[in-house]
């Protein structure tokens, strides 16, 4: 079954620095999505990139997708303390399957 696996598991940076998180998966996908989860809260959708796209931007977020390597990266530029959260990649497969398959996530701490 397909899986998203993020690395690093934990990342600690200073406010203003950029944060890069990576995700790998195993099988073909329809799209790949990134979600954020603040402690004790639900998942908030950040960005979706389709399998035929290579890069996407949304505000301070930049996502890349390399389907040949089955990997994606999420870059958060000019990080803020409010970006402190866990970040998950999730994939959807083909053939009418739209369930999200999540990785274990990267816990990002942004130090003011």
């Amino acid at each position: 079954s397909q899986q998203g696996e993020e690395d690093p598991q934990a990342l600690s940076i200073q406010e203003g620095e950029n944060a890069t998180m990576n995700c790998s998966y195993k099988t073909s996908i329809n799209n790949l999505q990134w979600y954020r989860q603040n402690s004790g809260r639900g998942l908030v959708h950040l960005i979706l990139i389709r399998s035929n796209e290579r890069e996407k931007h949304s505000g301070r977020l930049r996502v890349t997708l390399d389907t040949s390597k089955k990997s994606s990266s999420l870059l958060i530029t000019a990080s803020r303390a409010a970006d402190t959260a866990s970040y998950f990649c999730a994939t959807t497969g083909g053939a009418g399957s739209y369930q999200l398959t999540f990785g274990k996530g990267t816990k990002l701490s942004v130090i003011p």
Binding site: N30, N31, Q33, Y35, G40, R41, G42, L43, V44, H45, L48, F88, A90, T92, G96, S97, Y98, Q99, L100, T101, F102, G103, K104, G105
Partner: protein, 113 residues
């Protein structure tokens, strides 16, 4: 901004008891999902629901689980006879289209004693 709401936020239940978790999806969404997250583990898919029937379910979603959309607004997950290992955060999600972002509620923390 419209959001998915889940009740209760925390449910404590004795093992063997039935529990119903409730969700109100975003009103114009057509696709509904349940996921769970055991403490320290990945978020896992349970079931998806469209057009008043289950469209996909995982191996976790066995005979003790059921879902229902009893009216035009609520979407419920029932666990018939709870086990200790059912303790987890349960998230409801909804989406406007099948291959679009899913919008999650804040979850129900289910604790089985």
């Amino acid at each position: 901004e419209p959001e998915v709401t889940q009740t209760p936020s925390h449910q404590v239940t004795q093992m063997g008891q039935e529990v119903i978790l409730r969700c109100v999806p975003i009103s114009n969404h057509l696709y509904f999902y349940w996921y769970r997250q055991i403490l320290g583990q990945k978020v896992e898919f349970l079931v998806s629901f469209y057009n008043n029937e289950i469209s996909e379910k995982s191996e976790i979603f066995d005979d003790q689980f059921s879902v229902e959309r009893p009216d035009g607004s609520n979407f419920t997950l029932k666990i018939r006879s709870t086990k200790l290992e059912d303790s987890a955060m349960y998230f409801c999600a909804s989406g406007q289209e099948s291959n679009q972002p899913q919008h999650f509620g804040d979850g129900t923390r289910l604790s089985i004693l």
